[in-house]
Symmetry: C2
């Protein structure tokens, strides 16, 4: 489920000005306390604990190999983050720096709602972590890692006391390995990232029209015919499940049925409602092929398939998809129509409900709990099912009222390119859910961010997930009142750096892509290309198909500027803050104006500076409209700034003409599927230049 | 062997102006032909061969699995370099883009001097590679890969005809895994890099005072007691040997004896000449411990050890080290002194020759050919031994005159931080070797670059090897007359980009290190830090120990600015070229002056811009003297430029004062083990400002 509803657009800006509430931490006054997600309670102490080569961790109380491995990972991360050399061989003796005390074991197979709380005490002489079970210990270790900061005296952790526990028990990330195959190592490093921000569910979207990605020994033609050879072996899947468990993460597999299933039919056309033949889908969108819900062969197949997969994926939950069936194959099949008539099934929705019920029975038979997208919630469906809402908080709240458990994904679609603050504003208990009874609220288990992979591959997926996913992780872990946006952005940027030490390529991928676009270059040319890339964003929501010259497919190279830009431009955000600051000063702050001018000059010159590259490279040439649009828009903003500073205001009609030009330039950028995020700030300058009341006095 | 001689400093600048000679390529007029090393012969044709998703390689003639794997690697690299999606499943049919025809097999174990020649024909309809054996095919595939360029119409390879063969049969890179352990994946990606620039020998320095890095099953205390747990298992070693063979690279192991061997003695003190006890050495330098050459137990041990290693390392050559024995343990041991007396061994050099002879016999017994550093060349040593010269071309030429084969490493020590052009000027057949007879010249087999790892670890090793190693690779592959420095630098920078697609981190490591130094930052602060890092270089040669406050050890973190800078600053090189251009214009070129001024302004402001970071981070604070020195030096240069442009020349004594200040600032930078490579250009500006004859007319 992939097409966004409208509810997600309802952002609640008033939330942003709320104080941190239950959290004792004042993020502004503790800039070095870069913890993300913010803990439930923090109390600062005096002094700090030095981190050097003598660092040693010891596990006490309940012990297990998973904790030892976590200790090795912690030490490795400390070495990466600090450069300090630690020899493991000499680690068996010596003073303990961090004692991690665990009371008892956790469940052999991690369960929804297990205790993840911990407390952490740091003094100048040592640190003590305490948790009921290894899950809490794992969470606390990540907090400790985040607390290590560079200071004028070296690396250290500030003395403090933390008590922490998650707000929601289900904090997930869904990766779509179906549309583009995401290699094993990329999956793993994203699990590392999830651990860092305390997420605990990896939802693995394994089948799609464009690819079936899990090896089936029972039905080998699924992966052999349905994956172009790009699939995970069962050994690799077991490896991922273990890898995730080591990090306190459950793995929930999704096999999407009865729609989104063309790739199944490449090997097993007999499952389909149409007559085929079927080949792996290369286009994007919603397609006709759907399983035949009226043929008992389908359920026999699915029974055997689910038997096999239920063993491989040990988690309690099993995702059966269920979204976006257009019903065309059902309408066109006389046998299916006859079945509906004889069984008094009135429409396709009821037919899907029938199918869904049968599949849920199969899942339940294997002692698993089914989970599905919104569409599976139909009258009479058993209360055991969990609803994953892509439609919005409204449907989630309605389901909870009816006694169904649910998780929110609407508003957390990372592939849509929203800003972190826009995701951050989405609360699973927001909107109508705020009015639920406490008991009903408990049915809302949390949320999952989703990365759908139409325009996402191994190369850029990290950048489409991180660091914005850390803001969602905070929403799902931290207390409801955690809403300081400036603090969130500051901590998110620091976390973005730390995530790089895990091997995530969310920042580093860009230079590689730009180098490919440029071929060879002078430093000035490359600087211009990088400045362009860092100032633009890709178009939001689902406009990329609309603005593409030819329809993109799964074989379209993702080697263009639109693939290289970050979803949220840091450059643009700080420029907007500058312009706000300037306007708030009644356009009087000359120092800020100078900074604004400097940025505008860079943008104004980009078009010319990129010209030689555009003449040599088809990929730079393709981005020329966007580059020209940015330069010309910056020149309009610069004129406005000149006017403001010279006290020569624009006539209202002149202001209007310039605003229209800015809008036209944004349209021009869309030709390369790009957007100019500085545009609102440019508009603000033009409006200030045409309205004397804006620029007269500080507000 | 590690301490550089003086011969390497003899650079022959007149070489640089020679024409390309036998090479038909005019690099300046074929800027897009970014091949490195340059082929022996290139003739350009008309048009180009398009590279797109239909690309297909087919091997004809002699076939083997190694070639198929090379084809898979080639396709993967094309996908990385272009972003084009290729589905292997659909590759079995379709038009062949590149036919790689191989006549016959190569030796099962790659041998010195095997044919590596190939020819390549590219037309707009297809490419054909032809080689006698798979080694030539592997070389040709790398050339093809380098020819793929982005153009206004897409990715393509220009039509051309190439005939190519190496100048020297031994083109190596030595990696010192002893002083700092270099993990397996880092070794492997450097083998990838070697393949890209057609190097064919990986010399693996596996034992040192600071570490014994190869698993020995016969003598397990070698790696157990001598490595801090950081060693290569035999399985990993076999993997590296196979991985290298796949890339046409021989692996020559080195076990350094009788000196440089403290780590052996940690587990087996009975091998030593002193009384011990011995522990792994942590300091850098030349140390006293040496094997006991007078005890038959030593040879019994070495016989069994060499038996084991000779099986593991399949190459014909076996490196026994032999360098830098200070003899102190021998002098102090009465038993050894008695042995010398009774055997009429006059001095330690003769004693080492005796040891060396015995070890060579053991190596020869295993049908291997010994190779050793300069010191092993003593009167009467068998002619089979190969001399690796760290002392210089003089000793290499002298050895050749006596009938010994040799390879040059003097002048190719990458850890000394020399410029690429300085390495490029070193020729194994330069200096006295130029006067050798053709037969004697053939005894000089080639050369090896070396990276000694006192200040090199997994994080920065790639940056210490690449891209400068590509210039050495070209010296050893391309024809003698290949000496166009501007072309070399241009192609080296393009190759540096391509090497990144192999996973080499020579550029990307820097941001990680700087981020660690900074902790958290504003974009302006980080820009200043990056500008500083990219403008400075680490001190050259062996000055780092001399300028260190406390003696660095193998446990010293390599997390400082000196570890983050590139050995050769691209920024500095282009600035120097600008200043040359300005002076050559008689100081009249205003556009160039403006560019110079822009750079100077950046540097002049760095000190202030870094101040806030220096107050927060001990690692930035430590670099403050260097940052201040650069800023102040830039201000002196800016004053000089102002004077020149205003026509206000400096009095001679004023010029002298400023030149003295610049020298003092360079000394100040040394406090952080850094050097200011822009200084000669700054001096040039000051000299121009104090000498009216420089700035009057274009030369």
């Amino acid at each position: 489920m992939n097409w966004v509803g409208t509810a997600a657009r309802r952002i609640l800006p008033e939330l942003f000005v709320l104080a941190a509430g239950a959290c004792m931490l004042n993020a502004q006054s503790n800039a070095s306390l870069n913890i993300m997600p913010l803990p439930a309670k923090v109390a600062l102490g005096d002094g700090s604990l030095k981190i050097d080569a003598s660092f040693r961790i010891a596990f006490t109380g309940y012990r297990e190999a998973r904790l030892d491995r976590a200790g090795v990972r912690l030490e490795r991360q400390i070495q990466r983050q600090t450069g300090i050399v630690m020899l493991r061989a000499s680690k068996s003796a010596g003073v303990v720096t961090l004692e991690a005390n665990t009371e008892h074991e956790s469940k052999a197979i991690q369960e929804l709602g297990e205790d993840e709380s911990y407390s952490l005490d740091v003094t100048p002489t040592g640190a003590k972590l305490h948790a009921g079970n290894p899950l809490g210990t794992l969470r606390g270790l990540q907090t400790f890692l985040q607390l290590i900061a560079i200071t004028p005296e070296g690396f250290s952790v500030p003395a403090l006391h933390i008590e922490d526990r998650p707000r929601f028990p289900w904090r997930g990330l869904m990766i779509d390995s179906g549309r583009h195959f995401i290699p094993l190592d990329v999956v793993k490093r994203n699990l590392d990232g999830m651990e860092a921000v305390k997420m605990n569910v990896f939802h693995w979207h394994l089948s799609e029209n464009q690819g079936f990605r899990a090896e089936s020994r029972k039905f080998p033609k699924l992966h052999e015919q349905g994956s172009d050879g790009l699939f995970y072996t069962q050994e690799e899947i077991r490896d991922v499940v273990e890898y995730a468990r080591d990090r306190g993460i459950r793995v929930v597999p999704e096999f999407d049925m009865p729609g989104h299933s063309t790739a199944w039919f490449a090997g097993y056309p007999e499952l389909a409602s149409g007559s085929g033949p079927y080949v792996i889908e290369r286009q994007w969108g919603v397609f006709d092929p759907a399983m035949d819900p009226t043929d008992e062969k389908t359920y026999k197949f699915l029974n055997e398939f689910i038997t096999e997969m239920a063993r491989l994926f040990t988690d309690q939950f099993f995702h059966i998809g269920g979204d976006e069936v257009n019903g065309k194959e059902w309408d066109a099949n006389p046998k299916i129509q006859a079945f509906m008539k004889s069984h008094r099934i009135k429409n396709n929705a009821e037919l899907q409900a029938y199918f869904s019920g049968r599949v849920q029975d199969l899942v339940t038979k294997h002692k698993k709990t089914p989970i599905g997208w919104d569409e599976v919630l139909v009258p009479g469906v058993p209360k055991t099912i969990v609803i994953q809402s892509w439609r919005g908080v409204d449907s989630l709240a309605a389901a909870a009222k009816d006694g169904y458990r649910g998780i929110l994904s609407n508003g957390y679609y990372l592939d849509l390119g929203w800003s972190a603050v826009r995701h951050y504003a989405m609360d699973p208990l927001g909107g109508p859910a705020a009015a639920l009874s406490p008991e009903q609220k408990r049915l809302i288990l949390g949320g999952e961010s989703c990365i759908w992979s139409e325009y996402v591959n191994a190369e850029n997926i990290d950048s489409r997930i991180w660091p914005r996913n850390a803001a969602i992780a905070e929403r799902l872990w931290s207390s409801e009142g955690t809403n300081d946006v400036a603090s969130m952005y500051a901590r998110m940027e620091t976390e973005a750096t730390r995530l790089e030490w895990l091997g995530l390529t969310h920042r580093s991928f860009q230079r590689a892509t730009l180098q490919r676009m440029a071929g060879s270059w002078t430093p000035a040319e490359f600087d211009a290309l990088r400045a362009l890339a860092q100032s633009l964003e890709h178009e939001k929501d689902y406009s990329r198909e609309a603005s593409a010259v030819s329809p993109p497919t799964s074989l379209t190279p993702l080697n263009r500027l639109v693939d290289a830009v970050y979803p949220e431009s840091v450059v643009s955000r700080s420029f907007s803050l500058l312009v706000d600051q300037f306007v708030a000063s009644g356009c009087k702050d000359a120092a800020v104006a100078a900074q604004i001018r400097l940025e505008l000059e860079v943008w104004a010159s980009i078009e010319d500076r990129l010209q030689p590259l555009a003449e040599r490279s088809h990929l730079v040439k393709e981005a020329a409209p966007a580059s020209a649009a940015l330069s010309q828009a910056a020149k309009i903003a610069m004129d406005a700034l000149d006017g403001i500073q010279k006290g020569a205001l624009l006539a209202a009609d002149q202001g209007k003409i310039r605003l229209d030009s800015l809008n036209a330039l944004e349209q021009q950028a869309h030709k390369s599927q790009l957007t100019i995020p500085e545009l609102p700030a440019f508009q603000k300058l033009v409006e200030a230049a045409s309205n004397s009341s804006v620029c007269t006095a500080p507000k």
